[in-house]
């Protein structure tokens, strides 16, 4: 579980062609995200109202939007922000969830019960509505979208980490670490958490896609990232309004970008699961 040999990775990739597609797709998306400022042919924010709503042409591969902005450039530029949203939201809930869940799972007792109750409360919330309320309360900035997304994910991570740590808490190697002079905190941080990492990594990957979708849903309601930032969810939400008028390119291209990235992250999650834990494939 811990060491991943190149050979094993190759085996996983070979045994499932989708993995290769997903991995390369995710890498390409990540690259686009990193290189976005250099590969957008036009300024994604520059408007040109005279040329608004143009269908795809050679000048504008994906056409232009309501303000005459180049959709291709916007789709490319949005990659970065969407990845940033997904990554930071998920890592936030991941880190917090792992630590809180880890401590609860290890310490147990009253703390565990109290946190468990709080998590119960959170789980009982209709989570999308909770996210909406949070963004509405805090203002629709990228940070808050991230925060809300992270927050509604937190209970799942806490539970996950708690359960994973709980089953390992009494294992021999934890006792051995104590016999080897470690204190509780370092056992949690340096022994238990690293061990539950692979299982959580899968979760993270699956959640990345979900986080993007969540941001898109918030955008649809008008609570997403603020204008004029190029973000897939907003572009899709805005474009969806023009489906009836036959301006398909407004929604099709950002929609495709969003869909592909979510797809790749999901498939990548599966692949990670294969790579990290050959036995348990779900």
């Amino acid at each position: 579980m811990s060491v991943i040999t190149l050979k094993h990775v190759r085996w996983v990739v070979a045994s499932n062609p989708l993995t290769l597609v997903a991995a390369s797709g995710a890498i390409i998306i990540a690259l686009i995200g990193v290189l976005a400022p250099w590969i957008t042919p036009q300024d994604p924010l520059a408007t040109d109202v005279a040329n608004a709503m143009q269908p795809p042409t050679t000048a504008h591969w994906f056409g232009t939007d309501q303000l005459g902005r180049d959709i291709f450039s916007r789709v490319v530029a949005a990659t970065r922000i969407d990845l940033a949203i997904a990554l930071s939201a998920v890592s936030l809930s991941f880190v917090l969830g792992a630590v809180i869940g880890g401590v609860c799972g290890y310490v147990g007792g009253r703390l565990d019960r109290v946190v468990g109750r709080v998590v119960d409360v959170l789980m009982a919330f209709p989570l999308f509505v909770l996210a909406m309320a949070m963004v509405a309360a805090l203002g629709n900035r990228v940070e808050n979208v991230i925060l809300a997304t992270a927050f509604i994910n937190l209970p799942f991570y806490i539970r996950f980490a708690r359960a994973e740590v709980n089953v390992r808490r009494d294992s021999g190697w934890v006792e051995a670490a104590r016999a080897g002079g470690e204190n509780d905190l370092s056992i949690i941080l340096f022994f238990l958490l690293p061990n539950i990492l692979p299982a959580m990594a899968v979760q993270v990957s699956l959640n990345l896609g979900w986080a993007i979708l969540n941001a898109a849903g918030l955008s649809f309601i008008g609570l997403g990232v603020q204008a004029p930032t190029a973000e897939w969810g907003i572009m899709v939400a805005e474009g969806a309004r023009f489906i009836t008028s036959g301006k398909w390119w407004l929604v099709a291209f950002p929609g495709a970008a969003l869909m592909l990235s979510v797809l790749f992250f999901n498939l990548l999650g599966d692949a990670l699961r294969d790579i990290l834990d050959p036995r348990m494939r779900t």
Binding site: M1, S2, K7, W173, A176, R178, A179, G180, N183, D184
Partner: protein, 649 residues
């Protein structure tokens, strides 16, 4: 082998795994005659189960019969169609498994499951099938069968579950029953009852039985003929008395030797081949030497070893390959214990000396007084007092749940006691709570080796890291070179080949993991080492090696042991004194030799009597003398069953 009920001819089975192809069987040939009970023994991973499963066509999806034939009642069933197979399974050939509880559908009543088995082959109504199921439950001697019919597996004990499975297996009166370790995990008395039941039914119905086990005692007692397997091959087969009294194959010899008996001594346990275990010489030769090591890796592992070797030769491994490569030679040259596994007279003398050694010193190293531990309302340990002198080895025995692990964890300061006093070398260490004991200066003086070697190693630590951890943490050793030196030293002392240090726990065999655990335990140079059933999860042959290692270490390091086990034979061999525990209380303690010779307490006597003992000569005698088992056996199958290969029949 004409007229054989089942004959397996040169069977090769391989598994496609994630990494490579594992050749699990490499030409197994064996046959079982109608009415005969054939025992199959051999170390773990030798292919016993795979052989049985192949015969039943129950191999995993990944498994494939690559060559060879399986002939059942004269018919080649190697490549039978699924529907034809269904007709064979259950009605002509049946199988029962280890871990009976898991082998039953947890959400279906046992009555229905038996009825299912009947109706799979017989066109009878549900009511008739239920009626028959009831009969079968009576047949397998389940008490109160009418109620049990509607019970779910979890409402039954393990032994009862196994009886139900037997009932299912014989429901359609098959001609062959394959029993794969049917009693593992069951307690000693249940084990005997189940085995007697199988033997009785087989006798009554003239059913052929293949009985897979690694308990030589059981094989000797119940089988007419025994097959020994190793590395996917049959290495020897003969009648039990012949086989166990005069084993021809070196492996069989080793197996027989490694099985502890009432009178064996540790130095008796292992024969020659064990010597080769130790690391010496250049890397490649070493890896080659491992092939004949006492702890042979399962076949799959071996392939990995080759892979690793390539890595080594590529110089790509993280363990400081160059540095380590040099070291091997120097270690080989200047190792203080070039031949650490004792096999000569010298050791034998020394062992004798150990057991004869008087009680050491005046003030004990560890003194435990009135130790009590309660978990909620239940009392796990109840007023236990004992002492361990420096250099002394004290055994702690008792049935499961008697509080052995609890005591060892308290002594190790991993758990707080409820009451009682613990003094280590005159210091009251009970003052420091377990949670903060990691800061104590005495932490490095009391170390522990855990019951389950696999569980005790951090899956994300390499063997090197596992051993290095207490060195870094407790000895404050930071320097790369010093650390490596110390870790290598520890590994060497426990006979762990240095090239294995780079591996992660899942890449090590059970014996190797046990050694890593012990190396870690002695790394800080403790004065007291608590060993909580360090060999419980191991094969007899591996156990033997580990036991010898412990004896040697104790000698070299002047260690004191608190040795926990429920195997009394082992404790008798290893410990100067023995404490017998029951329900958290000490029922008896004293010098091992005295205690085992004249147990004072009836509980100790029971414990001693229940030892599943292996005594080749005695076993054969017992078997021959045994009367036909209940169930109104009319025939005298036993006589036929033993093919009387010139034994003392």
């Amino acid at each position: 082998m004409t007229g054989a009920l089942l004959s397996i001819e040169d069977l090769h089975v391989s598994f496609a795994t994630r990494r490579n192809t594992v050749d699990a069987l490499r030409g197994v040939t064996l046959a079982v005659n109608p009415g005969e009970t054939l025992g199959v023994v051999g170390e773990s991973g030798s292919g016993k189960s795979v052989t049985a499963l192949a015969a039943m066509h129950l191999l995993d999806r990944a498994g494939r019969v690559s060559s060879g034939r399986i002939v059942f009642q004269g018919e080649d069933i190697t490549h039978l169609s699924a529907s034809a197979l269904r007709a064979v399974r259950g009605s002509r050939m049946s199988m029962i498994f280890q871990n009976p509880r898991a082998a039953l559908n947890p959400i279906r009543t046992v009555g229905l499951q038996i009825a299912d088995a009947i109706r799979a082959h017989r066109r009878v109504s549900q009511a008739a099938a239920t009626e028959r199921a009831l009969d079968l439950l009576r047949l397998v001697l389940i008490r109160d069968p009418e109620t049990r019919l509607n019970a779910y597996p979890h409402e039954l004990s393990g032994g009862m579950c196994q009886r139900v499975i037997i009932a299912m297996a014989i429901a359609c009166e098959p001609d062959l029953l394959i029993a794969d370790e049917p009693t593992t995990g069951l307690d000693v008395s249940t084990q005997k009852a189940i085995m007697d039941l199988i033997a009785g039914i087989a006798a009554e119905r003239a059913m052929g039985v293949i009985f897979i086990t690694h308990d030589l005692g059981l094989a000797a007692k119940y089988c007419g003929r025994v097959v020994v397997m190793k590395d996917g091959r049959v290495v020897e087969q003969a009648a039990p008395n012949k086989l166990f009294n005069a084993p021809r194959d070196p492996y069989t010899q080793r197996l027989v030797a490694a099985s502890p008996t009432k009178v064996s001594r540790i130095e008796d346990l292992v024969v020659e081949e064990g010597v080769a275990t130790l690391s010496r010489g250049p890397v490649f030769e070493q890896a080659a030497a491992r092939r004949s090591a006492v702890v042979p890796l399962p076949v799959g592992e071996r392939v990995r070893v080759r892979g690793l070797r390539r890595l080594w030769s590529d110089g790509r491994t993280s363990i400081r390959a160059a540095q380590a490569g040099e070291r091997y030679n120097t270690i080989g040259a200047s190792a203080p214990h070039p031949n650490p596994l004792p096999n000569g007279e010298r050791e034998r003398a020394e062992f004798g000396a150990i057991s004869a050694r008087p009680t050491y010193g005046s003030s004990p190293l560890l003194r435990v007084t009135g130790l009590t531990k309660r978990f909620g309302a239940s009392t796990a340990v109840d007023g236990v007092s004992f002492a361990i002198n420096a250099g002394e080895s004290v055994g702690l025995v008792g049935e499961s749940g008697s509080g052995k692990s609890t005591i060892s964890r308290i002594v190790c300061r991993l758990l707080d006691q409820t009451e009682g006093e613990i003094r280590f070398d005159g210091t009251a260490i009970d003052a420091e709570p377990a949670r903060t004991f990691n800061r104590s200066a005495l932490r490095k003086d009391i170390q522990i080796v855990f019951q389950d070697a696999h569980d005790s190693l951090n899956p994300r630590f390499s063997a090197f890291d596992c051993i290095a951890h207490p060195l870094r943490k407790l000895m404050g050793i930071r320097g790369r070179a010093v650390l490596t030196e110390r870790v290598f030293d520890c590994a060497r002392r426990v006979g762990l080949p240095l090239e294995l240090l780079d591996r992660f726990p899942h890449q090590l065999s059970g014996g190797q993991k046990a050694r890593v655990g012990i190396a870690r335990g002695i790394a800080t140079g403790p004065r007291l080492l608590v060993l909580d059933e360090p060999t419980a999860a191991l094969d007899v042959s591996v156990q033997a090696v580990i036991l010898q290692l412990l004896v040697r270490l104790r000698q070299e390091e002047n260690l004191s042991y608190l040795f926990v086990s429920h195997d009394l034979n082992v404790v008798r061999m290893l410990c100067d004194r023995t404490i017998v525990l029951r329900n958290g209380r000490i029922v008896e303690q004293g010098r091992s030799s005295d205690l085992f010779a004249n147990p004072a307490d009836p509980y100790t006597r029971d414990l001693l009597a229940a030892i599943p003992e292996f005594n080749p000569t005695a076993a054969v005698e017992a078997k021959v003398a045994e009367p036909a088992i209940a169930l109104g056996a009319k025939r005298q199958p036993r006589a036929r069953q033993v093919p009387s290969p010139g034994g003392e029949g």
